[in-house]
């Protein structure tokens, strides 16, 4: 599982996100969760997650701007 390459795959889908891995669970920190209401985009995100070894992908809510910073 590579969070960095998953983040790149997400960016290619237009989803700017930081990823935290917890085993097979990928937690996404995004500035705006609303675009993920789009089912086709969600399906692409999930497929990318599977490609990167994640069985579960969840978006953290109310993570705020700070969540996008790595430190």
């Amino acid at each position: 599982m590579s969070t960095a390459s998953f983040e790149q795959a997400l960016a290619a889908l237009g989803v700017g996100a930081r990823v935290e891995a917890r085993g097979g669970l990928a937690l996404l920190f995004v500035l705006d969760v609303v675009p993920l209401a789009d089912a086709p985009l969600r399906a692409c995100v999930l497929a990318a997650g599977v490609d990167h070894g994640f069985t579960h992908v969840a978006v953290e809510l109310d993570s705020g701007d700070a969540a996008l910073h790595r430190d």
Partner: protein, 284 residues
């Protein structure tokens, strides 16, 4: 030459129901392990039809592993069916094998349940104990099934080949309110294997799910307990509805109120056995 119309799915389900009724009649008198869920309610209803209410006893095993609302529902469903109900407290939380939360946790819970029900069956003159395991469950990862076998508990729904979908359809035909009820496995199923099951964690999950229901969330719903993080699984309809800036604050607030510092929404939504998949016990 005559031609017969091919059987519909409902015809096939009704044939299976006849098989089920025949098996119950051969059993004579049955004690039903009763949760008031889709499967055991349907089983109890068919049993009452086939055997008469005097020959069916429903036993509810009450513990902190299930939300309190479930027992109220179970009692109401039993009343509608005309079932005689006995309630017994089970103490799986007193068993360290259970609270350690191994992958076969369900085995210890069901061992506790069936060992409590067998003496009740004997005392009331019932030789046969049945449960609501259906044909879909047989293909699933169900360590509790071993406990049922060890305690000679029969699973007539599975034996008749009745699937969950068929049970829902037949329940609807019988006017059972449970036909569209979401599945309701125990609250421990929200806690990842290896994380001890405690009354505090169970209460936290119960409180969180109750709060989300109070927000109007319908259908399948699970709050998975990942320590400080709640991972919420919703049905696909609800997931699309709640990925909305105006609604998310209410959802997050409800879960923080239940004691979770962090809240995440699972983007695949509800999956039965989600934690089994996460642990690699079953394939995704």
């Amino acid at each position: 030459m005559t031609s017969t119309a091919p059987k519909t799915e409902l015809d096939i389900a009704r044939d299976k129901e006849q098989t089920l009724a025949g098996a119950l009649r051969r059993a004579g008198r049955v004690l039903v392990g009763f949760s008031g869920g889709v499967d055991s309610a349907y089983l109890a209803c068919v049993a009452v039809d086939a055997l008469g209410a005097a020959n069916v006893l429903a036993v509810i095993g009450v513990s902190a592993s299930y939300p309190a609302e479930q027992w109220a529902t179970a009692r109401e469903v039993a009343r509608l069916i005309g079932l005689t109900v006995v309630e017994v407290r089970t103490d799986e939380l007193g068993d360290p094998n259970y609270t350690a939360n191994p992958a076969n946790r369900c085995y210890f819970c069901k061992t506790e349940l069936w060992s409590r029900l067998r003496p009740i069956a004997r005392a009331h003159g019932f030789d046969v104990i049945v449960d609501g395991t259906n044909a879909d469950d047989v293909a699933d990862y169900r360590p509790g099934a071993a406990a049922a076998r060890e305690h000679d508990v029969r699973s007539p729904l599975a034996a008749a080949g009745l699937t969950k979908r068929e049970i829902r359809e037949l329940s609807r035909g019988r006017g059972l309110p449970t036909w569209s009820q979401p599945s309701s496995p125990c609250l421990s199923s929200r806690i990842p294997y290896g994380t001890p099951v405690t009354t505090a964690r169970l209460a936290q999950v119960e409180s969180a799910e109750r709060a989300l229901r109070a927000l109007g969330i319908g259908g399948d719903l699970r709050v998975r307990h990942h320590g400080e993080l709640a991972r919420v699984e919703l049905s696909s309809d609800e997931l699309a509805r709640w990925l909305d800036a105006g609604r998310l604050a209410a959802l997050t607030g409800a879960l923080r109120q239940a004691g979770f510092a962090r809240v995440a929404l699972d983007l695949r939504g509800f999956r039965s056995g989600s934690l089994n998949i996460l642990e690699g016990i079953v394939a995704a």
